[in-house]
């Protein structure tokens, strides 16, 4: 999916509210945007419209209440707005998709991108694994003898 520059900016702020920076990277700094974009092109194609629509509505919501796009809000205001989206209450834009479902999906894919293996295009240096203390220590694969001569 080709997100517009504005959608991408909104997405980055959204995923960074879900996993913000501390002494470990925020979601957008750990490859989560790339992960989500790739997923919406492949396995989550059927959620493409929902995500584009949700990102636009997030900006509509910010415009309706605060007169500026989501990314330009200060942190506490962003969080208050996302709480409203999560609960589906006190919303001012005309939500054409269920806001809670959209937010739930964004939490799920943000977590996936942040905590999954580097082969998925995010978490390239394993930052989240270092943070939580997971080390796979998988050895170099051996040549499996049982496969010799099999079809």
């Amino acid at each position: 999916m080709r997100l517009t520059a504005q959608q991408k900016r909104t997405l980055a702020c959204l995923v960074d509210c879900i996993i913000p920076a501390d002494d470990y990277p925020a979601a957008s700094e750990n490859g989560v945007i790339d992960y989500i974009e790739r997923l919406l092109d492949t396995d989550l194609k059927h959620h493409n419209d929902q995500v584009q629509c949700g990102l636009a509505l997030l900006d509509d919501e910010a415009m309706a209440i605060h007169g500026k796009p989501f990314a330009d809000l200060d942190e506490p205001t962003k969080i208050a707005l996302l709480r409203a989206v999560e609960s589906g209450q006190d919303l001012h834009a005309g939500w054409t998709i269920p806001p809670g479902q959209f937010f739930e999906l964004m939490i799920t894919v943000t977590h996936e991108g942040y905590y999954t293996d580097p082969g998925n295009g995010s978490n390239r240096q394993g930052a989240s694994w270092k943070m939580i203390g997971y080390d796979p220590r998988v050895p170099e694969p051996v040549k499996e003898k049982w496969l010799e001569g099999l079809p």
Partner: protein
Amino acid sequence: VSGLEDGGEFDVVVIGAGCGGIIAAAVLAEAGKTVLLLERGKALAYPQVGRDHLRNHRLATYGHNTGPELDGNPRVIESPDGTVRIARPHEGAYHNNAMTVGGGGRVFGGQAWRFHPRDFRMASEYGVPDGSSLADWPISYEELAPYYERAEWEIGVAGDSNVNPHQGARRRGYPMPPVAPTRQHAVLWRGAHKHGIHTAAAPMLINTVPFDGRAACAQCGMCVGFACASDSKNSSHNTMLPRAIATGRCRLLTQVMVERIETDSKGRAIGVSYFVGDARALARARAVVVSAGAIESARLLLNSASPEHPRGLGNDHDLVGRNLQGHYYPGTFGLFDNPVYDGIGPGVSISTCQFNHGNPGIIGGGMLANEFIKLPIHFCKWAWPTDVPRWGPQAKRWMRDAYTRTIQVMGPVQEIPSPESRVTLDGAVRDRWGIPVARLSGATHPQTVRTAEFMRQCSEQWLRASGAKKLWGRRPTVGLSAGQHQAGTCRMGADPRTSVTDRWGRVHGHENLFCADASLHVTNGGFNPVLTVMALSFRAGEHIAAQL
């Protein structure tokens, strides 16, 4: 049966190169029989199984790593509320078992339990609850014990050879010492000791020392759900398959989809028709062994209906596909003050069999053990407590603080079978070869849920006694259960009116047609079932070889 390519003539055709089928094929080939071993999946090397944390047999969020292909292999799922939908292979509702050479054994964790002697006589021990089809096995633990021993020594199990008072008698110890005790082991051992729970190392189909020409386990943190990088997990594919091939009498064909078992007017199996690509072939045989997993084995018998057996082979009494069961897996997460993670895989190391039987007012029970090392995304998706926010700084802090301080204790519950939990053929939906697909319907018996809730409480008590400060877990609810431990659809028994197969796995009414997989299990034990699948296949292979 005309218009088919000639697939040759063999003593035996074995359908499905999984844990059970490979062993039956190897035992038969070593006994001098010619064997055609047919597998719908591919022989996958380690890199092909891959390391994708979101697409594997443990967590198949967007796909899996073992087959079947996501498209062209649907199943139809009928929920208890009557809604009907199509499931794809990576969805939970599909209840997939790895469809590849090696079957589930290619990607399992490898817990290698014998069933308990009382597991073979559940109806006699507990009575038959209303609405259940609980029954005794036609064979005893003692009859299967020599074959358990063969599986332990010929496939390779690491375990604690000391006497376990909550397990059946064994003539011989294990060929390898148990997996190393981990930090979790030490914590749970202290709690068990305080609480009066007997513990032992969990037996595993894993090399703890070099064995059978393959290296010892590297103790990595990516085990269950994946192939083994050091080829140190033992199953049929890397032990018995090479033995079968080495005889020169076993031919393995992969990416072959069996359509039907062909029978004559007397009900004798004469061969198997199958698809190779889009071509169809017929291989003739003196005996046929079905080892396709409990769901697909039942589907194949039903799809092999003939004029003499219009409801399917072995199905004169409408029993094929019934009593579908798996394992409820209740458990508890416990958060400790200090880290309990030391990164030593596979992770499962301490277990108790004290709650498998003898629980007041409860039918059966199950084994409990600590869990495999969790991938971070598993922990995120499965272990999140409902009272912790899922986003924002607190959520990130949770992952950071809790991952190394959490232990999960869980285990498989012996299910109380229901005849209404079943595999039938869907009347409309077909797979990519045009073969009617499996339709899964019904649910487990409510007594299963009761036992599962009891076991959840046991796991909670063990963790509390071990010092866990925060405990959480989900209460079990009624549903259909099958998954990778699927069993029961061609149950063994003496009476054709209440069973599909006899004490050897021979399909009633078809003297040269056998099953050799967990479809035979009358009940599925409160244990991981693979060692029982293996033992039954050693036994069936010997028996069939003697008959031919």
